[in-house]
């Protein structure tokens, strides 16, 4: 609860300061804390091969508009199942991945979302044949795979992981993934784990101003 209150407070503060800024430097656009609910990122698995072959279209997301998109060029990150791509670098070699057209990159920090305010340009990685900027596999990137119930394994965001993105057009965003399940439930029941997965809910802050390397 405290965190939510703080977030609200932070948003209000940011709102106020940007109001003030409007008078002095009218060209700056306000930085807003947003939440995206239910980004559906389905996939199909073919278990006849070992390892299974995962196919399906990646769902692309654009930070500037805060929406999913089907554009071939105006996207920053793309989701399919637990895999997240960035629109930067080269093809990683998995099936049906979109062509990278921008300069997006990513790195993962272990910190509190609200406390991440600066950007370390040298930390950004891009996708390539050697691996994705956001590593796949349990405990490697943004999630843990909890297989304690083999009939209903769960994907849980690792606490304290903040993903910092450079967008395709060299702006910045930070993301905290909250849930992998439909409607952002507070408890993941066996039923939800089996039927309602691959729906991302995440908090994000986008810095729309060119050249600004903070989230304030």
């Amino acid at each position: 609860m405290k965190t939510i209150q703080l977030t609200v407070l932070a948003i209000i503060c940011i709102g106020f300061t940007s109001c003030n800024n409007d008078d002095d430097t009218p060209q700056l656009i306000a930085v807003k804390a947003e939440q995206f609910v239910n980004l559906h990122a389905p996939q199909t698995s073919d278990f006849t091969t070992s390892p299974p072959t995962i196919t399906g279209d990646f769902v692309k997301f654009d930070f500037a508009t805060g929406t999913t998109t089907t554009s071939d060029t105006d996207w920053d990150i793309a989701f399919r199942g637990t895999t997240i791509l960035v629109n930067g670098g080269t093809s990683s070699g998995i099936p049906e991945e979109p062509t990278r057209t921008g300069n997006a990159g990513a790195y993962i920090l272990t910190d509190i979302f609200n406390e991440v305010n600066t950007i370390t340009e040298s930390s950004f990685e891009q996708d390539s044949a050697l691996g994705l900027a956001i590593k796949t596999g349990s405990g490697n990137g943004w999630y843990n795979y909890d297989g304690s119930n083999p009939f209903a394994p769960k994907i849980e965001p690792i606490p304290g992981k903040v993903i910092v993105f450079r967008t395709a057009d060299n702006k910045y965003a930070k993301v905290e993934i909250l849930s992998y399940y439909k409607d952002n439930p507070d408890v993941i029941t066996e039923d939800i784990a089996q039927n309602d997965s691959r729906y991302f809910t995440f908090n994000y802050v986008y810095q729309p101003n060119e050249g600004k390397t903070t989230f304030e």
Partner: protein, 702 residues
């Protein structure tokens, strides 16, 4: 609470305190030299029987031993109708048996894992730790004379594995005449234990034989799956001990132990098989007393442990097969030099040879480890006893180990004695941590032993199975180091009204071995290997009290407070690097230092309480016992890999046991009892507690 926190704080400074303590002792020693020639030991008759062997490898009175030691007598084992070693140890203060994923039950001492306790039978080690744990339910208690438990690192006398402590099971030796007994216990889950002891001794020749059959239908705590929690099994133990006294001073002992177990092995509806254990150990001991000062022992010990299991598919073809075959041989020669009644030096040299053949192994590894040790123990004055010991273990594969120990007991007066000890303990990496070469056939991950890495990783790479190597092969050139600990104990024994013992302990463990990912595979899985990483400590305080109302009624109680923590984890919490979430959809928050609970599977509090009540006119004895374990965590449930106060914990629990035994016609004894009276169980988390067990017993003495 403030007293406890003070004590804990004091213990963190224990190293310093120990030095002060020893300084004090030696100043006392100098003073007391003058008053030396005083009357002989005036220990009361009742304690004379409390003799312990394990502390010095010679018979010594428990009250003069400067170490935290505990004895469990045959009388207690009989009165609670215990059948397996795990039953009886679980009721001792500070000890708890925890289930292992392999199905065995291992023991925790002072918060140290079961892999770090050496288990001996008549002074020689038991082997067969296929996954690190030595399963205590393998050991029948039907022929045990007493169990000796020494807490704290004891590698100065026993070498490898004696890191948390030593449990020495002393079995019956041949006694004059012919006698025998038959004992039966039958109870819930169609569990039957039948055993017989035969004893014969005349003149120079003596023999004891013990035969036991133990079987059970097992039990099932989770009904929804095809497998039982414990599958049906039956096992046999045969122990035979022969002694021949050439003269009063020259004696020969030959003993053998055989153990055989068969158990159903069921993985699913369609995958079924069997697992089998075959184990033997044999000890040949020759001892000779040259005169009152010199005596020597020559020992030859060998043991083999074989575990085989298989699973067949429905059509009968072999789906899975695994074999484990360990051989252990140890000749040892030792000599004691008693330069007077009060001072003894014992020295020994020996060699340990070990070999393991195992499926999923990289070669057939062998270890050779020659060693030598020496220990002085003496009652310097009437008030002061000292143990000074040291041992050197050379090892064909690991860094050699030098293990010292110092322990002092000082009797302040007839009622109060204080004791303190400082010792080193180590455990060499086991074969698995060095030579494992295992790839999971269904999931596809690989586990490599440390020494298998340098040849297997290049192979996997050449086969195109690796995407990336995270830890270079060159990092595996230095050798895996033995895990080691320094243990501190400080205790007070008070004999007033009752018998109260208090002990403060701390164990600092370094080079703890853990696994890490060393390479990523093209199938999305990882290659794991072992490495030295953690520094861990366990510390706490233990209380033990016995109060006898009269000849017939006694109560006893024990309590252990424990803090077991990883030092790196503590640092991570301190530096604010650990996070958690409250619900599945809430944002992360930072955890504080005091949110860290500690190591997995450790309870902050352990306690026991027992009442023994005898009614002589009815030849009846009865007892009521309870054990308490406070909450503990077995997994990290909130994804930060540490056990913190926001994780799901296994609730604390209390188990009550009750037993009543009546002797009739002098030679017959009938018993009845209920273990776990209130039918406590926790199917999800505690697989070794079956629930309420009702049983009856019959003993006949011939």
């Amino acid at each position: 609470m403030s007293i406890i926190s003070f004590l804990i704080k004091a213990m963190q400074n224990q190293y310093r305190i120990s030095i002060l303590w020893f300084a004090f002792i030696f100043s006392q020693l100098m003073l007391s030299q003058q008053q030396k020639e005083e009357e002989k030991d005036s220990t009361k008759v009742e304690t004379l029987s409390e003799v312990i062997i394990s502390a010095t490898r010679t018979k010594r009175q428990l009250t003069t031993i400067p170490l935290p030691a505990q004895l469990v007598f045959k009388k207690e084992i009989k009165s609670i109708n215990s059948v397996r070693l795990s039953d009886i140890l679980n009721e001792q203060t500070g000890l708890i048996t925890v289930p292992d994923f392999g199905g065995g039950e291992g023991i925790q001492i002072q918060g140290l894992d079961s892999a770090y306790t050496l288990i001996l039978i008549d002074g020689v080690p038991l082997i067969g730790r296929s996954a690190g744990t030595l399963d205590l339910s393998r050991i029948s208690v039907g022929n045990i004379k007493q169990i000796e438990i020494i807490k704290g690192a004891s590698s100065s006398l026993y070498g490898n594995e004696a890191l948390g402590g030593v449990i020495n099971i002393i079995t019956e030796s041949p006694k004059s005449g012919f006698n025998s007994d038959i004992n039966y216990r039958g109870g819930s889950f169609n569990t039957h234990d039948i055993n017989t002891n035969l004893n014969y001794k005349k003149n120079k020749f003596g023999v004891t034989t013990f035969l036991n059959r133990f079987s059970s239908n097992g039990y099932d705590l989770v009904d929804t799956d095809a497998v039982n929690t414990v599958e049906p099994f039956n096992n046999y133990t045969l122990i035979c001990k022969t002694t021949y006294d050439f003269t009063k001073n020259t004696k020969l002992l030959l003993s053998g132990r055989f153990y055989h177990q068969k158990q159903d092995n069921i993985a699913s509806e369609t995958l079924k098989g069997e697992s089998e254990i075959n184990e033997w150990n044999t000890l040949l001991k020759f001892d000779h007393k040259f005169n009152t000062t010199w005596s020597s022992f020559l020992e030859f010990y060998a043991s083999q442990y074989k575990a085989d299991e298989f699973l067949n598919s429905e059509i009968g073809s072999t789906f899975y097969e695994s074999n484990f075959n360990q051989l252990f041989v140890r000749p040892e020669f030792r000599t004691t030099f008693r330069f007077n009644d009060k001072n003894t030096i014992i020295g020994g040299i020996g060699l340990t040879y070990e070999r393991l053949k195992r499926t999923e192994f990289f070669g057939t590894p062998e270890f050779n480890s020659p060693y030598a040790y020496m220990q002085y123990d003496g009652n310097l004055t009437k008030k002061l006893s000292v143990i000074l010991g040291t041992r050197f273990d050379n090892h064909s594969t690991y860094q050699s180990q030098f293990s010292p120990k110092i322990a002092v007991l000082y009797k302040i007066n007839d009622k109060i004695a204080v004791k303190s000890s400082l010792g080193y303990g180590f455990k060499t990496p086991d074969f698995r941590q060095l030579y494992f070469d295992f790839t999971n056939s269904t999931v596809g991950y690989t586990v490599l032993g440390y020494n298998a890495v340098s040849s297997r990783i290049p192979q996997l790479d050449a086969n195109g199975e690796l995407i990336s190597i995270l830890v270079p092969v060159s990092a595996f050139n230095n050798g895996l180091k033995p895990e080691s600990s320094i243990s501190y104990n400080f205790g007070v024994d008070i004999k007033a009204l009752s018998n109260l013992k208090i002990n403060l302990f701390r164990n600092d463990i370094t080079n703890l071995i853990d696994t890490r990912v060393i390479a990523r595979k093209t199938n999305g899985q990882n290659v794991f290997s072992y490495y030295n990483v953690n520094e861990v400590y366990t510390q706490g305080i233990e209380f033990n009290g016995v109060y006898k109302f009269n000849e017939n009624v006694s109560i006893s109680g024990g309590y252990q407070l424990l803090y077991a923590k990883d030092k790196d984890a503590e640092k991570a919490f301190e530096n604010g690097q650990v996070f958690a979430r409250i619900t599945a959809n809430s944002p992360s928050f930072r955890l504080q230092k005091n949110d860290y609970f500690g190591l997995f599977n450790r309870s902050r509090h352990l306690a026991n309480f027992k009442i023994f009540y005898t009614i002589p006119e009815w030849n009846l004895e009865t007892n009521l016992r309870s054990t308490y374990r406070s909450k503990f965590g077995i997994f990290d449930t909130n994804g930060n890999s540490y056990l913190d106060k926001y994780d799901d914990f296994v609730n604390g629990y209390t188990i009550w046991d009750f037993a009543i035994n009546k002797t009739i016609y002098k030679h017959y004894k009938l018993g009845f009892g209920i273990d776990n009276v209130f039918n406590f169980n926790d199917p999800q988390n505690i697989s070794n507690i079956a629930g309420c067990i009702i049983y009856g017993t019959l003993n006949i003495q011939f």
